[in-house]
């Protein structure tokens, strides 16, 4: 792991270094086009030879130096396209001594300039010490060869001073480039580490955001569960209890009347006995009604409760076709109440076709039932995409729902009964159970007097199996599994 990391780092460093070299070489090329003629001019005034000869000498020297470096580069296998330009400035300076000795036979006083050039180039151009060393040796060799070739050096001391000056400069250049190289490498490593750390941080933040998102969803789910539990408790404490209370009451009444009847029979009061019997009959009727009511409520309650646990047959469902099917199935009811249904473009969704059909059917049915005496009776079904969810909207032109009732409508057995419309208060509770099971949410927005819109969301992706599994598992294990699921996925 570490080795791989190191190799990658070296590779990345080399790539960056090459890039740097290329960039600086390009600048050096530009400088060279100015400096080569300038040096030639300086030579001209200095040596009093032909300008053309001096210029040619400069260019020749430059090309020789560049050629040598290219060879060197190629040999060590790191050919760089912008390299030639890079050496131009240096070589121009380096070679001048040797060439000028050859051409003029004079030792020149401007070697200081040449040595400075070596120094600055080794610092500025990203060269390796070895490269500086090779160039310096090459130039020294050239200088000595030129001096020997010329044969008549005016001053051997000056000559050796010049040679040592070049060599010292070379040593300095090597140290400078070594220092620059190590600095660059350190800087690179630091920068890379920083990048890595910042990447890791970004990733951490992203993970955290993802986790927060999941927690928020889990929290919403839990709140939804809490609400369902509250509703269930309400149903237990009120809707189921009300008929039980009546059964109790009429049981007592029956008991009282039986005692009364006994007394009446003993006393022989026929009138009283008849009255008692009538009352007993009435009590029995209420008792029967009460038990029937409880039975019915329990059946409905179970139906809705099963929706949130039973695994559905999930598949891709064309919501557009589904909505049209629902509208067709309700056509008689729609025509009878004069309601027009407009279906917009609906996408394909992943879910249980039967249950999704029930969602549309119940919503349309609900809208028709509570439409009231509106002048323009219309139901609009549309859909829009919000992030990873589709948001379906079923809008009607009915009387609307007051804000305080907007949560209540989804409660099991809740009836607003504003128009005396009949209903068991099961339809919307069923819709909510189905939508929740499909990993969506449902809510209603309405301005009283101006219709209402039921919104529900469904995931765009094939999410149901996992989500539904988690939901049913959560309901089975009292919500604990929900948290686990979050932990595993992050």
């Amino acid at each position: 792991m570490l080795t791989i990391e190191r190799v990658n780092t070296t590779k990345a460093y080399e790539a960056e270094r090459r890039q740097l070299l290329r960039a600086r070489t390009r600048s050096a090329c530009v400088l060279a086009t100015v400096f080569v003629p300038l040096f030639a001019t300086a030579d001209y005034y200095m040596f009093k030879a032909h300008f053309a000869v001096l210029l040619a000498a400069r260019i020749f020297a430059t090309l020789v130096g560049a050629g040598a470096l290219v060879l060197l580069r190629t040999r060590i296998g790191r050919h760089s396209p912008g390299l030639i330009g890079g050496v131009v400035v240096l070589a121009a300076g380096f070679a001048v001594g040797g060439v000028s000795v050859l051409v003029t036979g004079t030792n020149t006083p401007h070697y200081v300039g040449v040595t400075l050039l070596i120094l600055s180039a080794s610092a500025v151009l990203p060269w390796r010490p070895i490269q500086v060393a090779v160039v310096t040796s090459l130039l020294t060799a050239m200088f000595i060869a030129a001096g020997l070739f010329h044969g008549s050096l005016p001053d051997a001391v000056t000559f050796s001073t010049q040679v040592s000056a070049i060599l010292i400069t070379g040593v300095l250049g090597i140290s400078v480039s070594a220092f620059a190289e190590s600095t660059r490498r350190r800087e690179f490593t630091a920068r890379r580490n920083l990048n890595q750390a910042s990447n890791e941080k970004t990733q951490l933040i992203q993970n955290l955001e993802k986790m927060t998102g999941r927690l928020a969803t889990a929290n919403e789910d839990l709140q939804e569960r809490q609400r369902e539990t509250n509703d269930f408790l309400y149903v237990l404490s009120h809707d189921l209890r009300a008929p039980l209370i009546n059964i109790q009451g009429f049981g007592k009444r029956l008991h009282t009347d039986m005692s009364g009847l006994e007394g009446a029979l003993v006393n022989g009061s026929k009138n009283d006995a008849t009255k008692r019997l009538e009352r007993m009959q009435q009590s029995l009727q209420f008792l029967n009604a009460g038990t029937a009511k409880i039975d019915q409520l329990i059946s409905r309650l179970l139906e809705v409760a099963r929706l949130s646990t039973r695994p559905g047959e999930a598949q891709w469902v064309d919501a557009h076709r589904l909505a049209h099917e629902v509208a067709d199935a309700c056509r008689f009811q729609l025509e009878a109440s004069g309601v027009e249904v407009v279906i917009g473009n609906l996408p394909r969704v992943w879910g249980d076709p039967v249950q999704l059909n029930q969602v549309f059917t119940n919503l349309v049915d609900n809208a028709v039932k509570y439409m009231g005496p509106s002048s323009r009776k219309r139901i609009d079904i549309s859909c829009s995409r919000h992030g990873e969810r589709y948001r379906f909207a079923v809008n009607d032109t009915g009387p609307g729902i007051a804000p305080k009732d907007q949560e209540k409508v989804f409660r099991l057995f809740a009836r607003l009964g504003a128009n005396g419309a009949s209903g068991e208060g099961v339809g919307l509770a069923t819709v909510r159970a189905i939508v929740n099971r499909h990993g969506g949410r449902i809510w209603v927005e309405s301005t009283p007097g101006d219709g209402c819109t039921f919104y529900f969301t469904l995931p765009c992706a094939q999410e149901l199996p996992a989500g539904a599994g988690a939901r049913s598992a959560a309901s089975a294990a009292g919500g604990m599994r929900q948290g686990e699921e979050v932990g595993v996925h992050v």
Binding site: S237, H238, R241, A242, I245, N246, G249, L416
Partner: protein, 142 residues
């Protein structure tokens, strides 16, 4: 207690069976009040509006269920207590929920008593008698 007949008792409850039991319990207890029963919140509120408009005589006492189709007990209670003509009418909540939050809410809204179903009729009659007594005092003082 001759004044008992002076107060008319209204029951607003959608449950037919329970309404019958309440009405009979009054008769059995010898409370010979006028007794009216509204079948749901909306009907009850319609009657109360008629009282406000002066087309119907004011009830001496309202027995109110909470969970009903149409307007629920909370809303009727709130409206009664907001109305100038009606706010002195005592309201006894008769309901099957015994959730502390709902009880608290009812008292906050101005209910005179909260009785959880199944109703202990003796307690109810006692309350009715007490309230009737106070009602008389108030009326005399006024």
């Amino acid at each position: 207690m001759s004044n008992e007949s002076a107060i008319e008792i209204w029951l607003i409850d959608d449950d037919d069976g329970h309404a019958l039991l309440v009405e009979e319990s009054f008769q059995d207890a010898g409370l010979r009040n006028g007794f009216m029963r509204a079948r749901d919140g909306n009907e009850g509120w319609r009657w109360l509006q008629e009282v406000e408009a002066g087309r119907r005589s004011r009830p001496g006492l309202i027995l109110l269920d909470i969970s009903m189709p149409g307007l629920d007990g909370f809303e009727i209670l709130e409206r009664v207590k907001r109305s100038k003509q009606l706010k002195s009418v005592p309201v006894i909540m008769l309901t099957s929920t015994d959730h502390p939050r709902e009880i608290h809410r009812c008292y906050e809204l101005g209910a005179s008593a909260y009785i959880v179903k199944p109703v202990d009729f003796e307690r109810l009659h006692e309350k009715v008698r007490t309230l009737g007594f106070f009602l008389q005092i108030i009326e005399v003082a006024a």
